[in-house]
């Protein structure tokens, strides 16, 4: 799987008009309805609804403390909202544990890198295959026959991802030794190893320089286009958000203040006020 074949530059590839018609026709992968989440007296999310269509890149933006990460935590089962409904692939979801969400095909990266620091890049990505491996304790002890076959099978998959994200050189390096930008990339690789239907990216470009951001943007587009993965993206770099995403949700103080095409959202008065403040 070569990235070069599809190596299209990040910006300009997605005509806004074309994708809008496309996404409107697409089926909904995940929908959240009237979600309310509070911790004691603090309302992190208030009555927010939106949906994510299959195959799109959906950005969630907003000022700090707007409830974006809380929203992701609700989607992958870390937080349990007091009110509201979540349905994934048309199935309404009850209170669930994170590993159940993982089992259903939701993967995630974190704002502050959450890699397994004591393990190598390869092991970190193999860790993403955990749910797909089933050999029991007996065979694991022997590491032979079916267990070895399974291990090698998944190694092939993992190597495909390593090729895809161009991290061959750091395969055997413990991730703790890697520079930050590469750690972020390994984290993406680990999430991809789960072969998710929905990929949640929490600030994949935070703290990166321009070049690293361009690389990461290209990878996100490649994942979306080549693998067909639906992506929900939290990002502060508005330029990146406008270029990458099909649709944007804007949160502020736990409430949804805008939802729509990037260009529309950019022009929205409430959004501008939330970001720049209101004149009094």
């Amino acid at each position: 799987m070569s990235v070069m074949e599809a190596g299209t530059p990040a910006a300009g590839i997605r005509g806004a008009a074309a994708t809008s018609a496309e996404t409107a026709a697409r089926e909904t992968l995940l929908s959240v309805e009237n979600i309310t989440l509070s911790f004691g007296g603090v309302h992190a999310i208030r009555n927010v609804s939106f949906e994510i269509a299959k195959g799109e890149i959906r950005a969630i933006i907003g000022p700090n403390g707007a409830g974006k990460t809380s929203m992701l935590n609700v989607i992958n089962g870390f937080y349990h909202p007091q009110e509201g409904l979540i349905s994934f692939r048309g199935q309404e979801r009850r209170r669930m544990k994170p590993y159940e969400a993982a089992n259903q095909g939701i993967a995630r990266t974190f704002q502050n890198v959450a890699l397994f620091r004591g393990m190598t890049t390869l092991d970190n990505i193999m860790a993403g295959r955990t749910l797909k491996m089933h050999r029991g304790f007996f065979w694991q002890c022997l590491h032979w026959g079916p267990a070895l076959k399974e291990e090698v099978e998944h190694r092939h998959k993992v190597e495909e991802i390593i090729d895809f994200l161009e991290i061959q050189a750091i395969r055997k390096t413990p991730v703790g030794r890697l520079p930050y930008g590469l750690q972020k990339r390994v984290e993406l690789a680990r999430a991809l190893a789960m072969e998710p239907d929905l990929l949640l990216l929490d600030e994949p470009m935070a703290g990166m320089n321009l070049e690293e951001k361009e690389d990461m943007s290209r990878f996100i587009l490649d994942v979306n286009q080549q693998l067909g993965t639906t992506i929900a993206l939290i990002e502060h770099d508005i330029g990146v958000v406008m270029d990458l995403s099909d649709r944007v949700v804007v949160l502020d103080h736990g409430e949804k203040i805008a939802d729509g095409m990037p260009a529309d959202v950019q022009a929205n008065k409430a959004v501008i006020e939330a970001y720049l403040g209101v004149e009094h």
Binding site: N76, F78, K97, P98, Y99, A101, A102, N103, A107, R108, F110, A114, L115, F116, R117, G118, M119, D123, M126, A127, G128, T130, L131, M133, R135, F137, Q140, C141, L142, H143, W144, A147, L148, E151, V152, R155, H156, E159, R190, M194
Partner: protein, 359 residues
Amino acid sequence: MFYREAGQFKTTYEADQAIFPILQDRMGIAVIMVLALVIPLFATDFVLASIMIPFLIFALATVGLNVLTGYAGQLSLGTGAFMGVGAYACYKLTTIFPDMNIVVMVLLSGIFSAGIGIVFGLPSLRIKGLYLAVTTLAAQFFLEWCFIRIPWLYNYNNSGAIEVPERTGFGGMVLAGPASPPITRYYVVLAIVVAITFLVKNVIRGRIGRTWMMIRDMDIAAELMGVRPLFAKLSAFAVSSYICGVAGAMLVFFWLGAAEPSSFSITVSFQILFMAILGGLGSLIGCFYGAAFIWILPVLLRTLLPSMGLDIASETVEHVSRMVIGALIIFFLIVEPHGLARLWQIGKEKLRVWPFPYA
């Protein structure tokens, strides 16, 4: 110079994932295995019974603790007690089935300590780190109390200690008891330790071992990748306690010959923990380094110091060896907090690129 992997190309993932992917490592381990098999033929009973057998048993107990603390990240101070469970279980088993092979009994007795380990591992689902250490400390004291207060465990004898009866196996060989020759016991212990270490290595490099390390390194992310903390933590407790139980049973049946509750006191737990820390948490070879350092070095010092011709009292020898060991522990932990195994690894990395400082 000689430790270089240039020219060793791997064409399959199987070869790449082997335990010893580098030829020199394979040769090294083969030499060590041959030495381990041949040297005892020439060694004295003292070397076998006071150095080699306890070294191997402690190394195995350290492997057990390392599974839990080094790989799964759950700090435990109950190692001694889990070893005791194995020893007492083996004693009861061999009392009930006196004709069964003692090696089988030793291996079965680990299952009992695995069960106990799971019970005392339950708090780990709620608490972490030092707080968990305190609950395993409770296991230590409670089980020690059981060994004293439940006479059934030591067959109601007056001394309150367990005495190893003579046990045979493998066609009439005397394997345990006062009449068993140290060399037989050594080979039995060696076989069990090597086999279990090999199996543990396999588990660690597969799916289950990865889930343990995922829980250790970042439990939140692990859960999001589909690891169920309940299974991961309790399986680590079970495997770890099984190994410690087997080590405990071997400690009594193949080394001490008799044991009382204080043989499994908190001192043993700490001794094993120090072996694991000094050897290197999260490393199997480190277990052997740690056990060698803490067990063999003092014995060597105690025998070598008088043989140098110095006229010193035996207490002084004991004191000096304790001071030397203490100083060395501090020295090594300052040089490399990740233990002797990390030093070994760094040394190998340097050798690979020698004479250049970097690759």
